[in-house]
C-alpha cells in the first residue's frame, strides 16, 4: 500500500512527451489487461466494452505495452464511445435503437423502415446493448426521422480516429478544418448553431439573504428572431421574455434553508435554434450586508472620529454598538435603526493606535462583528475624503469616471488614484481629482485613492466594485 503514495515521486519525471514512448493515437497497455487510447491531450481513454473497441479496431496488433508506472502518469480522460455509423446501440432497459453520431451523439431511429434503409434488412444483427452505466458517456442528438438524416458511411469516414471523434488536440496543434463540423442537413437541427448562445447571471451584486430578493439577468445572442427567453430558478420558471437582456426578480423564502440556488436560461429562436445555460447564486455573506467606515485615518487628541454604520434591513438589526480600543460605545442614535453615525471623542495621547469595529445584533439571535479597522491618534487631524464612481456597472469596452474629493484643515498635498495597484493619476495641491478610466475588459474592477495633507498624514480609500459585463 505504500506505493500508493510513494509513486507520486515519479509522476513528474514521466510527464507525457518528455521521456515517454507513447504518442497521440497509440493504443497502450501495462501489466493489466486493459487497453487504453492515448489521446492528443496526453490523457488516456478507456474502452468501456469490447464492442466499443471493435467498432474502432479489428484486432490488438497495434497495442504497445508500457510500464505500470508510466501508465499511471497519464491521467484518465474519459471513456471512448462507439465509432460513429458502425453499429447501432440500445440500452438494456429501453427499447429505443440509436445510431451513433460524432463524439458519442445518440440519434434515435424512429422507425424500422429507417433502420432498414440505413443498415439493410439484417440491421437487427447490427445492434449492441449498451450497459446502462455507460449511457452517461453519450449525449442525445436529434432523432432520425428519415434515412436522409444520417449517412452511416459518411459518419464513419469523418471519424478517422478517436482523437478526431472527440475533437482532442494537443495544445500546439491548430484547429482542424471543418471536417468535424455538422454535416449539411435538410433542415437546421435545433441547438447545433454555436452562434446561438445564452448566459445567465445577476443584475447586480446586491445583498442576497433569506426573505430578500435576487435580481437575475439573462443575455442571449443573437438578439433578433427571438422566440422566448425563459429564466428558471430551482427548476421553476421565474419569467419569460421575448427580448434580451431578460431580467427577473426572485423572492427568497424566509423559511427556506437553501443556500445555493441553481439558475438556468433557456432561449429559443423562431428559426428553431435553442440555447441553454446554467449558473447559480448563493446567499451573501452576512457581513456583505454591513458597511462600517471611519472618517479619518488620523485624529488629534481631543478631536473627533466619525464612524458610519449601514446594515441591510434583511439582517433585521436590533442594536448596533461600536467598540473602540476594545471598549463598547453605544450611541443612542443606533438603537432600532438600520444605520447610524457615531461621533467618538478621542482622549488618547498622540502616538496611540486604536482599533474599531461594529457589533450588530440581528434577527433570530444572529450577532455580526465587522472586520477591525485601525486609526492613529496624532498631533493634528488627518484628511477626510471620498471616492465616487459615476457608474457601478458597465459593459466591456466602456469607461467610467473616478472622482476623489478631499478635505483637511491644513490643506491637501496630493491625491493619488489607483486601479488595483496601478497608479492612474496623481493630482498635486488640489482637493478634487477626477480620472476617466477605461475602456475596461469584462470582469470586476475596483479603485483606490490615497490622500496626503500638508503635514504628511494620509488617508486610504477604496471604491465599490464595478462589474464589467
Amino acid at each position: 500500500m505504500r506505493r500508493f503514495f510513494s509513486a507520486l515521486a515519479v509522476t513528474a519525471a514521466l510527464l507525457p512527451g518528455i521521456a515517454s514512448a507513447a504518442t497521440a493515437g497509440d493504443l497502450l497497455k501495462a501489466s493489466g489487461d486493459a487497453v487504453y487510447y492515448f489521446g492528443a491531450n496526453g490523457k488516456r481513454y478507456v474502452f468501456p466494452t469490447a464492442q466499443t473497441y471493435r467498432s474502432w479496431y479489428t484486432d490488438f496488433s497495434q497495442v504497445k505495452t508500457i510500464g505500470d508506472a508510466e501508465l499511471a502518469t497519464y491521467p484518465l480522460g474519459g471513456n471512448v464511445t462507439y465509432r460513429p455509423g458502425v453499429r447501432l446501440v440500445k440500452v438494456t432497459t429501453d427499447p429505443k435503437v440509436y445510431a451513433v453520431g460524432a463524439n458519442g451523439e445518440l440519434r434515435w431511429i424512429t422507425s424500422e423502415s429507417v433502420a432498414v434503409a440505413l443498415y439493410g434488412a439484417t440491421w437487427n444483427t447490427n445492434v449492441d446493448d449498451l450497459p446502462d452505466a455507460f449511457f452517461v458517456n453519450y449525449r442525445m442528438g436529434a432523432p432520425i426521422q428519415a434515412a436522409s438524416d444520417f449517412q452511416p458511411a459518411t459518419e464513419t469516414a469523418r471519424a478517422s480516429s478517436i482523437n478526431v471523434d472527440k475533437g482532442l488536440l494537443s495544445p500546439t496543434e491548430p484547429m482542424p478544418p471543418a471536417a468535424t463540423s455538422t454535416p449539411p442537413a435538410p433542415t437546421p437541427l435545433p441547438g447545433t448553431g454555436s452562434a446561438y448562445r445564452a448566459t445567465i447571471g445577476m443584475q447586480s451584486d446586491a445583498f442576497i439573504a433569506k426573505g430578500g430578493k435576487a435580481y437575475l439577468r439573462a443575455d442571449v445572442t443573437p438578439g433578433t428572431s427571438l422566440a422566448k427567453v425563459k429564466i428558471f430558478v430551482k427548476n421553476s420558471l421565474l419569467t419569460t421574455c421575448t427580448y434580451t437582456p431578460c431580467t427577473g426578480t426572485f423572492q427568497l423564502d424566509q423559511n427556506d434553508d437553501t443556500r445555493t440556488f441553481p439558475t438556468r436560461v433557456e432561449a429559443s429562436w423562431i428559426t428553431g435554434q435553442t440555447a441553454t445555460a446554467t449558473s447559480s447564486f448563493s446567499l451573501s455573506d452576512p457581513l456583505d450586508g454591513i458597511t462600517f467606515t471611519m472618517e479619518r485615518a488620523q485624529v488629534r487628541t481631543n478631536g473627533r472620529q466619525v464612524f458610519s454604520i449601514d446594515v441591510d434591513p434583511l439582517l433585521e438589526p436590533s442594536s448596533i454598538d461600536v467598540y473602540v480600543g476594545g471598549v463598547r460605545y453605544t450611541d443612542p442614535d443606533c438603537s432600532d435603526s438600520l444605520g447610524c453615525t457615531v461621533n467618538y471623542n478621542i482622549t488618547s495621547p498622540a502616538g496611540t493606535t486604536l482599533s474599531a469595529y461594529a457589533r450588530i445584533e440581528g434577527g433570530r439571535g444572529n450577532v455580526y462583528a465587522t472586520p477591525v479597522q485601525t486609526f492613529t491618534v496624532g498631533t493634528h487631524d488627518g484628511p477626510t475624503g471620498s471616492i465616487l464612481l459615476d457608474k457601478t456597472r458597465i459593459y466591456p469596452g466602456e469607461s467610467l469616471d473616478v472622482r476623489v474629493t478631499a478635505a483637511d484643515d491644513n490643506g491637501i498635498a496630493w491625491i493619488e488614484v489607483y486601479q488595483g495597484d496601478v497608479l492612474l493619476k496623481k493630482c498635486q495641491n488640489t482637493i478634487s481629482c477626477v480620472v476617466t478610466s477605461g475602456p475596461h475588459a469584462a470582469g470586476t474592477i475596483s479603485f483606490r485613492a490615497r490622500i496626503q495633507d500638508m503635514l504628511g498624514a494620509t488617508l486610504d480609500l477604496t471604491s465599490d466594485e464595478v462589474l464589467v459585463q
Partner: protein
Amino acid sequence: MIDRSDPASAPCRYSFNNFFMKQLLVRSLATLGTVSMLAAPLATTHAAGVAFNAGDLIKGSGSTVYYFAPNGKRYVFPNDKTYFTWYKNFDGVKKVTDGQLATIPLGGNVTYRPGYKMVKITTDPKVYVVDQGGVLRHVGSEQLAQTLYGINWKNQIDDIPDAFFVNYRTGTGIQTASDFQPQNVMTLTTTITQDKQFDETAVTVTIGNMNNGFVPATMTVKKGATVTFTNADIVPHTVTGNAFDSGLIAPGKTYVRKFDTVGSFDYKCSNHPVMQGTINVVN
C-alpha cells in the same frame, strides 16, 4: 414511424420489441465494470404498477436496481460497491413493469456516498476521498489517510474501475485532516438526492405511451411541491384533473403545476382516458 400508442400496430410492436429486449451478452474488455452485479435476491417484490416516489429504488424484471430521482430520471449504480455505500440491503426496492422502467429516462450514474470510503483507480496510485457530488479529493499522505480513516485505513479503499472514473470530478486535494471529516460529510449527505443536489420540492412525472401511462402513476409529494409532467411519448397527451388541465402537451414538452393544498388529486389524459394518475399531497 412506430406508433407505440396505436393498438393497430401492436403485432408489429411486439415483434420489434422482442428483438430489442434480447439480452446481448456484454463483456467488459477494459475494466471489471459491469452492471449485472446486483444479482442478490430481492427481499421484497411488489405487484407491477406500484406507486413510487422520488428517492425510491426501483427495478424492472431484470436484476438491476435504479435510484428514481426528483428530476424524474433513473440513476444507475455502476457496481455493487457503489450501491452498498448507500444501502445495506435491497429492502424497499419497488418493482415496476419493464415498460414503465423504459419510460423513465436514464439520468446518469450514482457515485460513492461521500465520506464512506476512500477510492482509487486500478491504474493510478493516487488515493482519494469522495466529497459531495462525486468530487474526488486527493489524500496527500499516509498519515493523513490514517487520521481520516483510522489505523485500518488500507481496508477503507475501493478500486473504482477505470470506466467509471469519468463519473467523478477531481477537486482540491486534502492538505490537513480539518479539510475533510468523513463522518461529518456522511452525516450531511444521507441520500443520493442530496448528493446530486436535486431540488426535493420539484419532482417529475414522465408521460409514457398508452401502455405505460404516467410514470409513476401514483406519487406522494409534500405540500408546495412543483410537479413537472414531461411527455416522453410520440403523441400529445394531457394532464387533466378536477381543478387543473394542462391542455395538449406536445411530445418532448412539459406541464408544470404546484400543489399547494393537501389532498389526493386524480388526473387522466383526456385523449387517452385509460391513462390515469394520482398526486397525493401531504404535509
